[in-house]
């Protein structure tokens, strides 16, 4: 075990299989990944290549079948790391107002939890409203989820993931269900939030432009078994703008990522063919 001292998140020889016996699915082959504190890493790849699985491993929602997962220098789960999560489906609670939805983590995570009763109508409320304003939802705190559009719900879901100042932010295709314009707007908002607070972010996405726009590092994965086949740094200056995504350097990057995914897919298909007994 060699441990990278600067890494906030580190996967070492991690594999993961779902199920047992006959129904065993090898979701993740031997994987190494280390992410520095405050980094923004995007995971891209075809569906079923194990992107969500990596997120769940890092969050400690599932244990690795073999290997080690370290977060904040200790085995995952040992250290109480604050984690925020958001998914493609906003999963807001329909019986709570948008503000109360956003404040939910404060009700659960220490040290906020102890003060929740005392501060829910004061400091915490202002904190939620400030965050809502930052994502363009000022004045919507008292509305209920069914009164908002998909894009607005996703903004609120981002707020819920960030309200407790997480050290780790896990985003699983958060903009997957949105239209192109809303999506690009939210890229800008997410970038701003990240630059403000600098959580360590792991973003899963299908959209290569999204990955290149937001991330400082893009990891390309292939399927069966899931594996990281390429790890590239993205060093465009920040704050990045949508206009930059049309510049030659940016276009070249997304094209290279795309080719890498396609060729990895070919490899996987070839590997499948070899597995079929003659």
């Amino acid at each position: 075990m060699t441990e990278d001292a600067r890494a906030f998140v580190q996967l070492q020889d991690v594999t993961l299989a779902y199920g047992r016996g006959e129904r065993r699915v090898a979701a993740l082959g031997k994987t190494d990944l280390s992410i520095a504190k405050g980094d923004f890493v995007a995971l891209v790849g075809p569906s079923g290549c194990g992107k969500s699985t990596i997120l769940k491993l890092v969050t400690g929602l599932i244990p690795a079948s073999s290997g080690w997962v370290f977060v904040a220098g200790r085995e995952v789960g040992a250290e109480p790391v604050r984690v925020g999560m958001a998914f493609q489906n906003p999963t807001l609670l329909p019986w709570l107002s948008i503000r109360d939805n956003v404040m939910l983590p404060l009700k659960i995570v220490p040290p906020f939890r102890q003060e929740f009763r005392a501060k829910r109508r004061g400091e915490f409320r202002d904190r939620a409203d400030a965050l809502l304003a930052q994502v363009g939802l000022s004045g919507f705190g008292d509305k209920f989820p069914w009164q908002l559009s998909g894009g607005m719900l996703q903004r609120a879901s981002l707020c819920r993931a960030l309200i407790h100042d997480p050290q780790l932010l896990m985003l699983d295709e958060p903009f997957g269900a949105l239209d192109q314009f809303t999506r690009e707007e939210l890229w800008g908002i997410l970038q701003e939030l990240w630059m403000d607070r600098r959580p360590t972010v792991l973003l899963v996405t299908h959209d290569l432009k999204e990955a290149s726009f937001l991330a400082t590092r893009v990891c390309v994965m292939r399927a069966r078994p899931g594996r990281i086949v390429e790890d590239s740094f993205v060093d465009f200056p920040r704050p990045r703008t949508i206009e930059m995504t049309y510049e030659p350097g940016f276009v070249a990057l997304t094209q290279r990522l795309r080719e890498r995914i396609v060729s990895a897919r070919g490899d996987a298909a070839a590997a499948d063919l070899q597995e079929i007994p003659a």
Partner: protein, 257 residues
């Protein structure tokens, strides 16, 4: 006139029409009062014998509400247990289904044996009648939490209890209220069964005595009282439901209700 009002008027007209038809049929076919009394006769009996019927009504209402309240408390507790623990589910569900398949009339004598005739067996019968729908609905509501939401909560290191209080139970509320409406009418059935078998007070007992003396209008008056009480409580719980869980009516996924 709004469409809502028109619908209400139409349904009221149909209901009134049903009773008018009943009245006319009795007159036209010369149906004897001892076979099927006319609605006006029933109303008249109810009016005339009100002083005698009233204490029975109160007793039945009281018994039912106490039994129902006990049913709610134990139903929610059992439902929460079954809905949040795998083991409790595997053990509890078969037991519950077995138990609910037993005709409740058969249980009353046992209660009488244990507690003597009177109010207690009736309360208990009302309780076990109303229990099952509440348990099933609360358990179902708890079990339908979205896996992603559960992940969000677990990532926040929420305890099982946190998840239950913040997500599970509120989420089960629409199912819970839907079950209350059904359960309260079942609680009446339970009370009346027990009163018929082993009590000297209550509408069940009243109808029992009336039928053994062939006082058929009084039997029907008793039925009418039960029906009115049932409809009244159903309406009250519908109203509370609308107030408490208005949010659920906005979403189609709760159309099960």
């Amino acid at each position: 006139m709004t469409p809502g009002w028109r619908r209400h008027l139409q349904s009221a007209a149909v209901i009134v029409g049903f009773f008018v038809l009943w009245e006319l049929a009795c007159i036209v076919f010369h149906i004897k009062e001892i076979v099927l009394p006319r609605p006006t006769q029933i109303l008249f009996t109810l009016w005339e014998r009100a002083p005698a019927i009233w204490p029975h009504t109160l007793q039945t209402l009281y018994t039912t509400l106490v039994g129902f309240a006990l049913g709610i408390v134990s139903g929610v507790l059992i439902g929460a247990l079954i809905g949040s623990s795998r083991l409790a589910y595997d053990v509890g569900y078969p037991l519950l289904i077995g138990f609910s398949s037993i005709p409740k009339v058969a249980v009353v004598p046992i209660f009488v044996l244990w507690f003597g005739a009177g109010t207690v067996p009736a309360v208990l019968t009302a309780m076990i009648m109303s229990l099952f729908p509440i348990v099933v609905n609360v358990a179902t509501g708890l079990a339908t939490t979205e896996p992603e939401l559960e992940d969000v909560m677990k990532a926040l290191r929420a305890s099982k209890f946190d998840i239950l209080m913040n997500v599970g139970l509120p989420r089960a509320m629409p199912y819970f209220f839907a079950s209350l409406k059904v359960s309260v009418t079942l609680a009446f059935v339970g009370t009346v069964i027990a009163e018929t078998v082993a009590s000297n007070l209550g509408i069940g007992n009243l109808m029992m005595i009336a039928s053994s003396s062939f006082d058929v209008p009084l039997v029907f008056a008793g039925l009418l009282v039960l029906a009115l009480l049932g409809v009244g409580l159903y309406a009250i719980f519908s109203l509370i439901e609308g107030r408490v869980i208005g949010w659920a009516k906005r979403k189609d996924e709760f159309a099960l209700g």
